[in-house]
């Protein structure tokens, strides 16, 4: 019985060990890194960090989509794009085989930021969409309101993922409109309608008066009475001016992507704050 129990213990411990080993060594290829807010530059308090982590966990549960916020004091001589992409790739972020996720990098070195997308992130966040999010979050970065900026970022990620659910992400043909913008648009519609109304009645009114004063006497020119005694066109001089020609370019919707050092495909955009 005692022998039996040691044997059982042995089997049990091997079983347990292999289970732990599986968890520790086998999962990194599939499961994500659980550290969602990596505040190396120490821009956030612990409480803020916890709160942001919690909202990110919500999104992961809701959409199966990874969200990472990284702050750093150095880009290690990389571009902000390369640093963000590599950070995402080499730290095991992203959900599923396609490693769906988005990473928001803030570097204090030269005050760079970068939003990098991966996998499904390229579908949900188009160039237009990332631009729209940048518009909303970068000003807070500039003001040093890092926590505000990050929590807004997470809110927008939530909204944009929700919109992208039925395969229609916010893009140049499906613009992101806030309710206040909507109110303004409707107000503008009313103003334009009023102007059209005003123009219409003015046209109706102007049709009621066909009186014009006559500043000419052309009806009273005696027939064939024009008699020209001098008609000379004298050439005087010429001059030439030249202007340098310029060319222009245009853009359309969708996501543009690039390949990171690990060979995976990313989308995104960044800048200075």
């Amino acid at each position: 019985m005692k022998e039996m129990s040691t044997r059982m213990k042995k089997i049990l411990s091997i079983f347990l060990f292999s289970f732990i080993a599986t968890v520790i060594f086998a999962t990194p290829a599939f499961a994500q890194n659980s550290d969602k807010v990596v505040d190396v530059a120490d821009l956030l308090t612990d409480a803020e960090e916890t709160k942001l982590e919690k909202s990110i966990t919500n999104i992961i549960e809701k959409y199966n989509f990874d969200v990472v916020i990284v702050t750093t004091n150095t880009l290690e001589n990389k571009t902000s794009q390369a640093y963000a992409d590599d950070y995402f790739d080499y730290n095991g972020y992203g959900v599923g085989d396609s490693r769906d996720g988005i990473l928001f990098l803030v570097s204090m070195e030269d005050r760079d930021y970068y939003i990098s997308t991966s996998g499904y992130g390229l579908n949900a966040f188009t160039d237009y969409g990332i631009g729209k999010i940048e518009d909303k979050v970068v000003s807070d970065l500039s003001d040093g309101e890092y926590n505000n900026s990050f929590s807004k970022f997470i809110d927008y990620v939530d909204k944009f993922l929700k919109e992208a659910k039925d395969n229609k992400p916010y893009d140049t043909n499906n613009k992101y409109v806030t309710s206040s913008e909507r109110v303004i648009t409707i107000a503008v519609i009313f103003i334009i309608a009023f102007i059209i109304g005003l123009i219409s009645v003015s046209i109706m009114k102007s049709g009621m008066n066909n009186v014009v004063d006559n500043k000419f006497a052309r009806d009273y020119v005696r027939k064939d009475s024009l008699n020209l005694s001098r008609q000379s066109d004298i050439f005087l001089y010429s001059n030439v001016t030249k202007v340098k020609r310029e060319s222009s370019s245009s853009s359309s919707g969708g996501s543009s992507s690039h390949t990171s050092s690990s060979g995976s495909s990313h989308g995104g955009h960044g800048g200075k704050f």
Partner: protein, 363 residues
Amino acid sequence: MAVINYKCPCCDATLTFDGTSQQLSCEYCGNSFELDAVKQYDEASKSAEGESDFEWQPYQADSGNGDWQEGETDGMKMYVCSTCGAQIVADENTVATFCLYCENSTIIPETVSGMLKPDFVVPFKKSKEDAKEALKLLCKGKKLLPDFFIKDNRIEKITGLYVPFWLFDGDADAKINYKATKTRHWVDSNYSYTKTDHYMIAREGSIGYNYVPADGSSKADDKFMESIEPFDFDEAVDFNTAYLAGYLADKYDVTSDECKDKINERIRNSTLETFRSTIEGYSTVVPKNINMQIKQGKIRYVLMPVWMLNTKYQGKIYTFAMNGQTGKVAGELPFSKKKYFSYMFGITGVLSVIATIIYLLIF
């Protein structure tokens, strides 16, 4: 040897003669010119200098057919409106019951006085029925028209009126210089080029005007009278009081002298327009010197036939006038404020609701 100083056509600085190129050049703006071109430029500029002057022979009682003969005005009477002061002449069998200018019914008969005998009269060719039809047509489709306006008993009030006109005849001698340019554009891989050739254009000549009319009645609005022009003066006949039968006639109260500025402006504009039409092929043409002369211009005093209806609506007089010879119509119709605002807010409301629904469905 006389030295002629030529002015630069570009900047007015004095030109110097360059013996090697045989051209005149300007040190100030750097342009050089052919000697012949500068000579012509100089001559044309001097020719068109000086003030314009339009000289009209004054119109006097004996200028036209002379004054009334003894007893000629006996068969006529005059109505004076006690409200607007209009003085309307009619033959003794025509009874006026209201003032055709202000709709007032207190008009007082008086004996004819202070009326010049017209030289000519252009008789009515259009009937009252024609005038009524023309007014109805004018009112058609006018959504803001007050309902009362088109009622038959009102339209009956359309009146045939001889309006006094001064007619001006004269030959204008004009000398006009223009600055003109021709431009040409081309491009190469780096630059786009514009070449501008500068010209001076000189036009001199004469143009004749016959029967340029000016409204001699202060009651008949000049604008309306100008709108129903032209009258064909070839159909005018010597004045005879018999033509007044069944119509009213207004007395002139604006002298020919007071009409001159208006006439001069019209002749000037038309002369400019005609001369300008002889210039073709340039990208810009701007008149530089304008000199016009009229000598011994002649003035006539004529009655022109007009069908007229004046309507007082909310304190304002609205006039309908039709040329009694050609049927040309000028009118200002009253508009109902109530209809105006209902249309304005109706259109605003419908449009904004539809646009908002479409907007919310799309976004």
